[in-house]
Symmetry: D3
Subunit: 229 residues, 6 copies
C-alpha cells in the first residue's frame, strides 16, 4: 500500500542555486511570506546553506525502511524530505544513510523527526535539519510513499519543489514559481544593499522608510519623560 | 495609543561594564538570586557576553514596526529589549535592523520572540538572545510603547535597567541597585578565587564549606554498602 | 532520611573506554535498542564523547546540597548523574563544582535539570549533558540519596552502570552487561566498515541489505509517474 | 493579495452525516490511518461530535479579519477551518462570531490557534476544536485566502473536504473519497459489534485475532516467574 | 530577607463585582487588550468566574511556606496570586489551604505552579487557575515576599490590583483603572447586545461592521471558482 | 526477544483498597513524597479514583501488539501500566481493549502515550490516565516485555506494585511497602480531620503549625505599608 514515483519534475539547476544564495529569509519574503517550515526544524551544525529539489518520503513512526527506498530516487542536487505519519523523534537517519546520499550527490536532509551520528555527519559535511537529535534506532516493517506530496514541519511539499535551508531554518518554493521567486529575491537583495549602506551610515529606518507620518497617524506620541504612573 | 519616551536614566558606564565582566550567574547571585529572564532566551552564537542599559520595546504579535521606532531611542552602550503583547516566535529582527543598531553603538538584543539572518548576525558579531530562530516576516501595522516598563521572559524590566547577558542567559539589574550589585558581585568573585584553588587542589566542598555536621543533623547517613532491597 | 553508599561496583576500565569509542548510537543498538536517556538531555558543547561509571545523586527541586555530597563519592573515570525529585531547570551546577569533579578525575556530568557557567565549563573542557542552561541559583536545605538507583531522563540508572554520552545524547549500559555490549558493539562497528565503503561506492542499501523482495511483499509499488489525483 | 473562492464542491449530506456517526477513530482507520490533525487540537467541551464540509480560512498571526470574510462563504452543514500563517494562540474567535456561524447553520470550528468566550460557546452548544483557550484580542489589518487549500494541525485540507471531529480530535476525509470511506467505516464498525460481544464475554484478543503463533514466531516467550536479574 | 506588607489598597467592591460579571475577554478588550496572564493558567473546573483584589505571594521552587504567611493577609473578596521564583509545577496548594482561604472569604487562587486535591477543591467550590495539576508535596524552608509586586503568568501584578478569572483564563486590571475599565466594559457589553441580535438574525459581520471596502482596498478578491493551480 | 511473566506477586486487596481511599496526594506524602508519575499523565474523565496491582507492558512506538498480550496476564483488581520504548502519543488503546480489560476485572489503564475512543471509555466508566488523546492507529509488528520492571512517566514500576490514581494524577507504591504506607496514610488523614475543622473555623495555619517563630528566624519581616521603591 505504498507508492514510489520514479520520475518527478525538477526546477532548473541555476534557479535552485540562485535560491540557495539568497537564503531562507529573503526567499520567503520574495514569495509573499509563504513557505516556511516550522521553527522546530533546526540544523545540526552551523553555518549550513543549501537548496535542492525535494524528494519526499513518508515514514511510519519508529520505522526508517522507506528512507532506504527513497535513496534510490535521489539524484545529484536533491534534498531528501522525510516526515513521519505521526509525531516521532526517533533517530531515523545516521552516517550510513548519509554516506549513501552523498554518493548520489544529495545536498542535505530535512526530517520532521530525529537524527543521530551527528558528530560524524558534521565531519562529513552533510547538513541535516531535524526536529530532534536522538539515537533511538528504528525498525523496518511498514511501507509508505515516496515522491507523493506530504506535510513536513506544517508545510505542504510536492516532490520537485525547491527546498531552501540555512541557519534560519527551511523554506519550500513551488517548482513552477521557483524562477519568479528567484527573480524577486534578486530584486529584494539588490534593494537591500543600498539600504544596508545607509543604515550603516546612521540613517534611521524611520526616515529611510518614511514611517514617521504613518506612526503619528496611528496615534503614536513621543514624550520627553515618562508620565507619572 | 502608543508612547515613546525619549529620555531615560541610565546607570554609570563603569558599573555596567563591571557587571558585564562578572556575568549572569554571579550577578544574579549577588542580587539575592533575582532578576533572571526565562531560560528559553538563548544566545544565537557563543560565546557572547554583554551588559548595557535597557531600551524597552513592546510589539504586537507578528508586527515589528515599533522596533524601528525604538532604534532611534538607542544610544551607545544600550541593549534593546523587545517583548510581544502575546506569544509569538516570528522573525522580528534581521541583519538590516542589526546594522542600524550597530551604527548607534548598541551592544545587543534581547527578544522574547524570533530572530532571523542569524548567519549574518553571527558574522557581524551582533549578539542576540531570543526565544526562537524563525525567518517568518512581520508586518508594520500596530503601534505600542517604547521605554515604558515591560515584562520580557517573565521578568519586569524598566527602561534604563542594566541588562547582563552571556552564554548562561539574561539577567536584569535595577538601575538604582546596579552599583551595589556590582560591588557585591566583585566580593563574590574574589571569594571564589580562593575556593576554586582549593577545590582544584582536591579539597572537598563538604570540608571547605563545613557541611558535614548540618547534613548529619538533617539525617543523612553514610553506608559502606547499599542495603538489601 | 538520605543515604550515601560509599562502595559501588564498577565495570572494567577497558570495557568503559571501549564503549566510549563506539558512541551512543552504536552502543544502544548493540544492546537491543535499549538504555537511551530522553533526547532533552543535550551537551553544552560539541563535540564531546565520554563513558564512565555512574555515581547517582538525587536532589530536591532548587537544592543542590547533595551534589556536594556526591562529589566525595566520585573516583577517576566516573560520571556524575543527577536527577531532581520533581521537574526543575535551576542551575544546580557551575564551574566550582566542575573544578572539584575534575580534581577527582570525573569525566562529565549528566543532569536532568539546569547547569550554568557554561562558557567556563566549555573552556575547562568539562562536558555536561543537561535539560537546560539556566543561571538560577539553588539552596542547600534538603538531603537525598547518593548511589541508590534513580530515574534520569526517563531511564533507570544503577550506581556503577556505564554511562556513554556523546553529541547524540546519553545511554546507560548495565554494569553486568557492559563487556558483552562492548563486544557486540565492536562486531557491529566492524560490519559497518564494509557497508560504508560499499555505500560510498554507490551500492544502494536496497541491494546491500536485500530489501526489494520484502518491500514488494508488503505491497510497495514503483510507478514511473504520479497517478492523477 | 488575498483570494476568496465562492463556490466549492461539497460531499453528499448523507455521507457527511454517516461519517459523523462513525467518529474520528473509525474514520481514520477506514481510510488507511490517514488524515488526523495534530493532537493539540482539543474540543472546548465534551462530548462533542460533528462532521461537515470544510470552509478553509487563512489568517495572519493576531489578526482575525479573514474569519469575518469566511463566514459569508459558509452554508448549513459546513465546518469552518482556520489556520494562522505562523504559530499563534490568540483568541481569534468568540461568541459573536459563533452567533453568526450558528445563524448560517455551521456545525463547528476547527482552529489551530486560540478561542475565547468558551463558557458562552459551551452554553450555546457551538463546538470548537482549538490549540488554546486564550482571551487575547486580535486586530483586523491583513488579508489572506478563503477556500484555498491549507495546512491545519499538520494536515492538508482542501475546501469541501469532510471534517470529522469528536472527543478524540479531528480527521479530514478527501471529498472524492468520502463515500468510499463511509462504506469502509460501516464495515469496520459492523465487524466490531461481534468482536466487542466476544471480548465482553471474556474471549481474549490473542485468541479472537489468532495472534499467538505470530507472537511466538517473533520470539515472544512466556515464563512462569521473572528470571533472576 | 522576606517582607510581608499588611495593608494594601483595594478597589471598590462594586467595581470588582462588575468586572467579574463582564468576564476576562470583555475586560481585557475594555482596557486596550492588556493585562492577560499566560494561557497556561487554566481553571481546575468549569464553569468558574470570579474577580477579587490581588494578594501577591512569592514562593521558592518546591516550597509553599509563604502561602501560609499570605493567608493571614487575605480578606473577604481577595484572590490569592502565587508565583515561584523559578519555574516549578509542584503541588503547592491543596484542600487544607483552601479551607483556610474559604474561611477568610477568599474567592479563588491563581498560581503559576501546580495544585493538588482538585477533586476536593471542586467539591468545595474553591476555584483555582494553575499551570499544572500535580500532587508533588513541598517543603517549608525559604521565605519570600507577600504583597510586593510580582510577575505571574508573564503579567506584572501589584497587590490590590483586580484579578478577573473565568473559563477563558486570567486578567489583571490596575486598581486605579478598575472603575474606568468597568465603565468601558459596560459600554462594550451594551454594544454587543445589539450586534449579537443582528448576527443571530443573519446579518453578516462584513456588513454590520462595514468591512467590505477596507478589504477590497487591501487587495482582497472574490472569485467564483478556484484558479487552476 | 520479548518476555511475558505469568505470575507476579500482588499486595493484599484490603491494603490496595485502603490506598485508593486515601488518594494520590496523601499516599505520596505518606511514603516520604516519593512515587509520583509525571504530571503529563492526566485522567480522560473526572472524577476518577482507583488503586490496583500493576501489570506492566512495554510497547514499541506506534505498535500496540503487546497490550493484547498483557490483557491475558491481568486479573481482577489490576491496573494495566503501558510505556513505549521511545516517546509516542499514538492512540494505542480504545474501547475494544477496554471491553476486554473490564471483562477481566481490571480497574483502569495508565499509559505514557495516547488513547482514543474516550467518549466511549467515559460512558463505559473505564478510567484512563494518559499523555495524550489521539486517534492515531497502531500496528502489530514488534514484541516487548510484559511484567518486567519499566519506567512510566519517569517513575520505576515493578509488576505487582500498587498504582494509585485519581484526579491529581498517578502514584506508585512498592508492593512490600504498601501496608506500611496505608497505615501512614491513615494516620496522616486522621490528623487532617482535626486540622481541617480548625482551619475552617478560622484558625490560621501560622498558629496551628506554630510557624511564626521559624519565619522570623529566617528574617521574615512584617511591615504595615510597602516601602518606597
Amino acid at each position: 500500500m505504498g507508492l514510489v514515483i520514479r520520475n518527478i519534475p525538477r526546477a532548473a539547476p541555476e534557479v535552485i542555486d540562485a535560491l540557495a544564495g539568497f537564503g531562507v529569509a529573503t526567499v520567503h519574503e520574495a514569495q509573499g511570506r509563504n513557505g516556511l517550515l516550522a521553527s522546530h526544524l533546526r540544523p545540526i551544525y552551523r553555518p549550513a546553506a543549501i537548496a535542492g529539489s525535494a524528494v519526499t518520503c513518508e515514514v511510519a513512526p519508529g520505522d526508517n525502511w522507506m528512507i532506504h527506498v527513497a535513496v534510490e530516487q535521489c539524484r545529484p542536487g536533491d534534498v531528501l524530505v522525510v516526515a513521519p505519519t505521526s509525531p516521532c523523534e526517533d533517530g531515523y537517519f545516521g552516517d550510513l544513510l548519509a554516506t549513501s546520499l552523498m554518493a548520489r550527490g544529495v545536498r542535505g536532509l530535512v526530517i520532521d523527526a530525529g537524527v543521530r551520528d551527528i558528530a560524524m555527519l558534521t565531519e562529513m559535511g552533510f547538513p541535516v535539519w531535524s526536529k530532534a537529535v536522538f539515537a533511538q534506532g528504528t525498525v523496518k516493517a511498514t511501507v509508505g510513499n515516496v515522491n507523493l506530496p506530504l506535510v513536513c514541519g506544517g508545510a505542504l511539499i510536492h516532490p520537485g519543489d525547491v527546498i531552501v535551508a540555512d541557519d534560519d531554518g527551511v523554506c519550500v518554493v513551488r517548482r513552477a514559481e521557483a524562477a519568479a521567486v528567484a527573480e524577486a529575491a534578486a530584486k529584494r537583495e539588490a534593494s537591500e544593499v543600498d539600504k544596508r549602506a545607509k543604515l550603516a551610515a546612521g540613517v534611521l529606518g524611520l526616515d529611510l522608510y518614511g514611517m514617521r507620518e504613518a506612526l503619528a497617524a496611528k496615534g503614536l506620541k513621543w514624550l520627553d519623560e515618562a508620565p507619572d504612573e
